[in-house]
């Protein structure tokens, strides 16, 4: 990686190269299986290969135990895809996180998304003890210092120099207190975040207002902001996200559109309803991408098609984002 760093890259990752070159980037999410079958990753990876610039691998998402994000990320590296491993503060203390990150770097992983983590009460081990030794901002800062200063959180030197990571963080423009959200983003930028992936955007006016404040603060010039999108699968899903998911805002318009999509299809005809819903879900998602691209400060999109990775290539192509650009050496050496 010395070569990559000598030309000014922090990590040399494909994502970093594309962002640096000013391309509108596309990332997608891949959920590892609740099991150890490598084939699941391979099948999902096949759908995403060449369609997106990098792939997020979730870290025990919604506090449900799944295959390790770093192990799944390594499988992607072997398949020629670029992973963004997600790392939460819920399951590991600063020792565990740093040790795992060194291992991830050794395995050819170059992007890491630093998260607080969903609370364990939502998952399948609600009686677990959580860690939260660090919070997500402290995590970003720790990884940035590991990379830039070659030191562990304790201040000791990392043998052989710092691991070359492109550092991501999340932002939820829809959480409360709304006025504080741009400041929290500013803290993540100050801590060293290179890119940001947002919560799913289903309230474009609110997101625009958020981005206006972010742009006024000049943050979009210091960090690449990828707006989160995802295809709805049914009216029920839209309603659930609107009414039940804390920190999410879903405009009624989308719920109504999903409802209208199956108007006239009898309830018994489940296959036809599923088809109609999914088509509308993808249509809405593509429209949103076009709207989001127009917003100042949006540097890319992050597609979260939860357990529906098949939708990603369709969305990317219909949104006119295919084929994906390349800059220099796009495939990482491992």
């Amino acid at each position: 990686m010395m070569e990559d760093r000598s030309n000014g890259y922090k990590s040399g990752s494909n994502l970093e190269r594309l962002i640096r070159a000013g391309h509108f980037v596309v990332t997608a999410e891949l959920g590892p299986p609740k099991g150890w079958q490598r084939e699941v990753i391979e099948r999902k990876a096949k759908l995403l290969r060449g369609v997106v610039d990098a792939v997020n691998i979730t870290d025990n998402q919604t506090a449900i135990v799944r295959m390790s994000s770093i192990a799944a990320g390594r499988i992607l590296v072997e398949l020629g895809l670029e992973p963004i491993i997600q790392m939460t503060c819920r399951d590991r203390n600063r020792l565990g996180i740093q040790s795992d990150l060194l291992g991830a770097a050794a395995l050819g992983i170059r992007n890491v998304l630093c998260l607080t983590g969903d609370h364990q009460s939502f998952g399948n081990h609600p009686t677990a003890k959580n860690v939260h030794d660090l919070d997500s901002i402290q995590l970003v800062q720790m990884v940035a210092r590991m990379r830039d200063e070659g030191i562990f959180q304790c201040g000791e030197a990392i043998k052989g120099g710092g691991p070359p990571f492109f550092i991501g963080a999340a932002a939820n423009p829809f959480g409360d207190p709304f006025e504080f959200r741009p400041y929290r983003l500013a803290k993540k930028v100050a801590a060293g975040a290179d890119f940001i992936q947002t919560q799913l955007v289903f309230d474009i006016p609110r997101f625009k207002e958020y981005m206006k404040r972010v742009v006024d603060m000049g943050l979009h010039e210091k960090v690449a902001i990828l707006a989160g999108v995802g295809p709805l699968k049914s009216t029920g899903m839209a309603r659930y996200m609107r009414d039940r998911v804390p920190g999410m805002r879903v405009a009624d318009e989308y719920v109504e559109r999903m409802k209208a999509a199956v108007a006239g299809i009898p309830k018994e005809d489940k296959a036809a309803r599923r088809e109609a819903w999914r088509a509308e879900g993808i249509r809405i998602c593509v429209e949103q991408i076009h709207q989001l691209r127009e917003i100042e400060g949006v540097a890319g999109i992050h597609i979260m098609a939860i357990e529906w990775e098949e939708a990603v290539p369709v969305i990317v192509k219909e949104a006119g984002l295919y084929p994906r650009p390349t800059v220099g050496e796009a495939v990482l050496k491992t």
């Binding site: 009460s121 409360d176 803290k187």
Partner: protein, 234 residues
């Protein structure tokens, strides 16, 4: 204050199952104030257990006594004279009270009748909330007097997570989001600048993570003073 709740009756019955003669020891301090283990609760539990064990066919001899503070030697020492009459102590003190009794009376089994839940306050009659986790390194001066260690479900130090909505925590609607409270109070006080600084990783070694803690004040220690006086005389 320390807030506790009485254990379910079935669990208490299990805990005292092997004993014939039980002394319930209430505590006159925190657990009295939170209606969990004072003289009144000890009397009610005593009656309940006498009736319940009789109905089960193994009536036990159960008495109650309440001391002013179960967590200080001087208040529990007088119990010693009575203990020969009992097989077991059922403490209605907090976890500290239970252990103080166990440490003072090594020959006597002691079991807890309460679950100690937290350090907090009654926010209204009948409702208690947690306020302090005794982390050993108070940061209330940075967080507008509202503790994110005790009151944020993820103990965040740099602002709210993405799950804060309408002032509520994502974990449960009954939990106010600590960071919403911190933000509002800091704003009202004109101290928002404090929230914009990045708070570094916390030194958890001062908390329970550093192992069981101990506070020593040499200036207050009697042995120390005796030594000092002795030294001065020399």
């Amino acid at each position: 204050m320390i807030v506790a709740e009485q254990k379910p009756l079935e669990e208490i019955k299990e805990l005292i199952a092997d004993a014939e003669r039980v002394l319930i020891v209430g505590c006159g301090t925190c657990v009295t104030v939170c209606f969990a283990g004072g003289a009144k609760e000890a009397a009610i539990l005593g009656s309940t257990l006498r009736m319940a064990t009789r109905l089960d066919g193994h009536g036990k001899a159960i008495d109650e006594v309440t001391v002013q503070r179960q967590c200080e030697w001087e208040y529990i020492d007088p119990l010693e004279a009575r203990l020969d009459d009992y097989d077991l102590i059922l403490s209605l003190g907090c976890g500290i009270g239970v252990q103080t009794l166990a440490e003072r009376f090594p020959d006597k089994p002691v079991v807890p009748g309460l679950n100690t839940v937290f350090m907090g306050l009654p926010v209204e009659q009948g409702v208690w909330e947690e306020r302090c986790q005794a982390c050993g390194d108070c940061i209330l001066g940075l967080t507008a007097g509202i503790c994110p260690i005790a009151r944020c479900s993820k103990q965040l130090l740099n602002g709210p997570c993405g799950g804060s909505q309408d002032g509520r925590c994502e974990v449960d609607e009954s939990i106010p989001c600590a960071w919403q409270l911190i933000y509002e109070r800091a704003k009202a006080l004109g101290r928002l600048d404090k929230l914009l600084e990045i708070q570094p990783p916390k030194d958890w070694s001062k908390s329970r993570d550093g192992g069981p803690r101990r506070v020593v004040r040499e200036d207050l220690r009697l042995t120390h003073r005796v030594a000092e006086v002795a030294g001065g005389e020399r």
